[in-house]
Symmetry: C2
Amino acid sequence: MTNVLTNTLKNRQYVFAARPEDEATAGCFGQVETVLPALKPGQILCRNLWLSVDPYLRLKMHDRESYTPPLQIGEAIPGNSVAQVVTSADPAFEAGDMVAISGGWQEYAVVRAAHAKRVDPALSRPQSWLGALGMTGFTAYGGLLSIGQPKAGETVVVSAAAGAVGSLVGQIARQLGCRVVGIAGGPEKCARVVADFGFDACVDYRAEGFAGALAAACPKGVDVYFENVGGKVAAAVMPLLNMFARIPVCGLISQYDGQSGTDPKALEEFMRWVLVRRLTLRGFIVYDLYQNHPEFTDTMAGWLRSGAIREEFNLHSGFDQVVPAFLGMLKGAGFGKTLVQIAEPV
Amino acid sequence: MTNVLTNTLKNRQYVFAARPEDEATAGCFGQVETVLPALKPGQILCRNLWLSVDPYLRLKMHDRESYTPPLQIGEAIPGNSVAQVVTSADPAFEAGDMVAISGGWQEYAVVRAAHAKRVDPALSRPQSWLGALGMTGFTAYGGLLSIGQPKAGETVVVSAAAGAVGSLVGQIARQLGCRVVGIAGGPEKCARVVADFGFDACVDYRAEGFAGALAAACPKGVDVYFENVGGKVAAAVMPLLNMFARIPVCGLISQYDGQSGTDPKALEEFMRWVLVRRLTLRGFIVYDLYQNHPEFTDTMAGWLRSGAIREEFNLHSGFDQVVPAFLGMLKGAGFGKTLVQIAEPV
């Protein structure tokens, strides 16, 4: 069941080269060439086709506790991928099968077949397993439904509305009958959030008068604030929150690069809102919520097929584009889910 | 059914005289003498015996939104009381009955009979309707059970542990099989929290090395933090919180008087904990939770009768002592629930 190929394939792989002082830079990453281990029974050798770059990786670059352990210098960069099976040492898969795996930022990956998910072309295109049908989509769906608990007619505000998770959160909330207001950076992005994703409104956090514009877009206040950003964006939402509002805390991307714009009273003011408005705030990551939503894949695939929910990919090409794609995504470049295609399916 | 007495009784009443700049002072309150209105059908005239002074009143003294409207200058000071019916214009009560009412800081009160709760001497002493069986007790019970959701073997940390709500929270958590760690001000109070209320430990937030002592008292981390205080006490608890910890936000007494000790990064650091530890934080007031716990009065009365839960009153005497009792309570003076007895039952 082992395969001669595994000893001859060159595998380029990104590793963690240096911890960032402040902003993450290209110098934080290095490339090495590895020799792939021989396949053991139950494993599959996969060729990565599309790599996902995700904000949570930035959290792992700090040398401090996060929801996953910090990256160590020299460690291979993890990440989800859609890949094609090259050789299989497990009866569940054969060469040519498309799979969604934790493939890492590398050309090839050896993974346990039990950890690979079959990509079903009847449900959607393969990239969707890194988008609406993958971790990104479930983060939006599970966080919004389990924690946000939106009801028809309520107002849902989504930060990073042009991003991978945010764009889906807003579209799901629209399906549930909510008024949906996005927050994004720049007039062009905001216009596209409304035009392409069907948000009721989208407010530019970089514009003068942002807080006032946000308030005007939420005439009935805010019942759910899906938090992807933190910082001054969150501060503008806070006074608009209605009694018993819910805040799924999914990410804090404005803080990841060490930026700060808060004043000394910010925490006290925030806690005061929690108390007087009886807010519920809950941090989560995607793994916390899977068990709540066995219907997820069918529901989301149905929305994709019917066109009720639209996926946008910010697609880069080539193995050398992985790091620039990641750094750009952290700065809010692009629209939708950022992917890097590093090989063609065969 | 009206009563001549109501037109002849002198009623001394506290009113809101001046909004505090910073700390609340005696000058914020004034006394007036009112003439009681004639009883309408369905009303009862009550003589207040014990007045409750509560932290939430401090929130109402700010000129900004809270969970109840701000007090207006000249407005009568509200508050719960245990009182005795003087005359009744409702068949549900007769003269001499003991009732728990929203009687306000005054000698007499005319209230709707439908809003009065009969004090049942078979359950506990009358003062308990302002303590363990009243709003105070339900705040502890409902907040801990509905939001804290402690499980046997978990660690529950309670701030303001020597206070009215905190002392009950800890004792209830002990009944549920938790390790209970209090936080209070000064070695004497801490010793009493352990000796009188049976906490497993109590840490002095005024002492050098507070954060380290708290960590040492919580070797398995913290699963529930019942928040009464905010500020530096909360900051010391935060890094100890376990994954999926719950934080019922009941009060923020350290902030009410305009104190502040936070640094500019405090909110960001806090939100980071919410995310990486997947915390749930929920602000509440007592009215939010009554419907969840119809068993409350029977359960708590049983605990009081069996001695499983002990009530302590910080009892003051005399109508002129109401304001000093309130101001002292805000500063953490006394032990247990602060009450002022202003008349004897007849």
